[in-house]
């Protein structure tokens, strides 16, 4: 096994790499102990991740425990986008009040699949107006279930609604492919931030996304991927 020295492990390059990631501790069965254990793993890693993702009920304890080492993220209507608009906005208000500063807002997918683009835009606009820029919100579509036309139209509705960030999959059962990122980047250029999510387990996958100037990635495997990245750096340095 390759020995990695701490100078490399905590080098600016590695810190910046790990800093792209969200680490999720989400799910119906997740307990206080699970969340504490996940947060402790983040703290022990020494990295400053983009965010730690937890269910709304665990936000206060996460904020206390994480102590500013990462932003606390909680999703809205995750993963189905199926809750009523009133409920979603209520959750958004609750999140603003208790200190959430990053969220994935799952859009109503029926509106997207029924091509009701004006309703998609209206939903985004309603969230943007309530949020007033307090929380960094990525608007979540389920790109894997959509054709290219629908992906573009959904992204257009997000942009028309006043937002500029799309998360391309929930990560529940489906994952983002590089072709989806490439499509959105090709059509929208740098106007939209693109956040891939779901089944991202390897450095090779991350490399693919980075080609399209992705800056934020959701992955449960952040620590394993970072280890891969460090190993590659080490190898590159030993060869130079």
């Amino acid at each position: 096994m390759m020995m990695i020295d701490n100078d490399l492990r905590y080098s600016p390059e590695v810190m910046a790499f790990a800093g792209m990631f969200h680490y999720g501790i989400l799910g119906i069965e997740k307990t206080e102990a699970d969340v504490r254990s996940g947060i402790q793993r983040v703290l022990d890693s020494g990295y400053r991740l983009t965010a730690v993702d937890v269910e709304l009920i665990y936000v206060p304890m996460t904020i206390d425990m994480i102590g500013g080492r990462a932003t606390v993220h909680s999703p809205i209507s995750y993963p189905l986008g199926n809750l009523t608009l009133k409920k979603k906005l209520r959750d958004l208000e609750d999140m603003m009040r208790i200190g959430v500063r990053d969220s994935a807002y799952c859009l109503n997918y029926r509106y997207i699949l029924d091509h009701r683009w004006e309703l998609v835009e209206k939903e985004v606009r309603a969230a943007v107006e309530v949020n007033q820029g307090v929380i960094a919100i990525e608007y979540n579509i389920q790109a894997t279930l959509l054709n290219d036309y629908e992906i573009i139209q959904a992204c257009q509705a997000i942009e028309n609604g006043g937002a500029n960030t799309v998360k391309l999959n929930t990560g529940y059962g489906w994952g983002t492919g590089p072709e989806e990122v490439a499509l959105v980047r090709r059509v929208f250029g740098q106007r939209l931030d693109i956040h891939p999510s779901g089944n991202i387990r390897t450095l090779a996958q991350v490399d693919e996304f980075l080609k399209y100037n992705v800056r934020i990635i959701h992955s449960m495997a952040v620590f394993e991927i970072t280890e891969e990245y460090i190993a590659r750096l080490q190898q590159q340095r030993s060869q130079s």
Binding site: T31, I57, P79
Partner: protein
């Protein structure tokens, strides 16, 4: 259908009366909701179960057919504060829901937050539902025996009509509820609360087994397959 399992209950009409026809998918479209209601009418299923955001539209399709609409509140994760869930219950009722399913905060219960979360959310559900039937969704497979029985007691004390054994969401992510777990809950429930199984049911004869074990209701998208196991079901082909 395997030859050694006789349909139970005996007729497809009786089975249909125990089914609540669910479409809780992420990719449900308007046409799916219309079809759900048309099939419910055809198969004599009394209730359709949909996501909260689809209640209003489903109601438009279901009401002329005499079908009731049930809302699956906070589905599938349920990890919200009780007050926030009640906003959704009120929305669902306003939109036409006559039955309220609600996913409990399972993680909160497992964390021991019973007085902080579990009792308040269950009590609030019954109160805000205002006499409409209530079905509390849990994930029994992640509860131990004592917790399963305790949850039954809490739900009965609060006046919940049914305890739902599982969300049925993404089969395989959580272990399926076992026969032993179902038996434990059925025994704890007695006659004081109904027991509903939620999710896909495959093979269809599993539906007969569930009802033989004491499950009182099936909330499932697998309706046609189950009813087609009856030789005289008219739309089996």
């Amino acid at each position: 259908m395997s030859a050694n399992i006789d349909p139970y209950p005996a007729t497809w009409h009786e089975m249909a009366s125990r089914i609540e026809y669910a479409d809780l998918r992420i990719d449900t479209q308007e046409r799916d909701l219309r079809l759900l209601c048309l099939e419910a009418e055809k198969y004599r299923i009394p209730v359709v179960v949909v996501n909260p955001v689809n209640v209003g539209l489903a109601y438009q399709f279901a009401q002329p057919c005499g079908i009731k609409v049930a809302a699956a509140v906070s589905y599938p994760v349920g990890a919200y504060i009780p007050q926030s869930k009640m906003v959704e219950v009120e929305d669902a009722i306003t939109d036409g829901a006559e039955i309220i399913y609600m996913v409990m905060a399972v993680g909160a219960y497992l964390s021991g937050w019973i007085d902080l979360f579990t009792r308040p959310e269950i009590t609030s559900l019954v109160q805000v539902a205002g006499g409409r039937p209530t079905r509390l969704i849990t994930e029994a497979s992640v509860l131990n025996k004592d917790q399963q029985r305790e949850l039954c007691r809490i739900a009965i004390e609060a006046g919940v009509d049914d305890l739902v054994l599982c969300t049925g969401f993404i089969p395989g992510k959580l272990p399926p509820v076992s026969d032993e777990q179902i038996a434990n809950i059925v025994e704890a429930a007695g006659k004081d609360i109904g027991i509903t199984y939620m999710g896909e049911i495959d093979p269809p004869e599993r539906a007969f087994e569930l009802i033989r074990m004491g499950v009182t209701r099936l909330c499932t998208p697998s309706t046609r397959g189950i009813l087609a196991a009856y030789p005289d079901f008219p739309w089996a082909a």
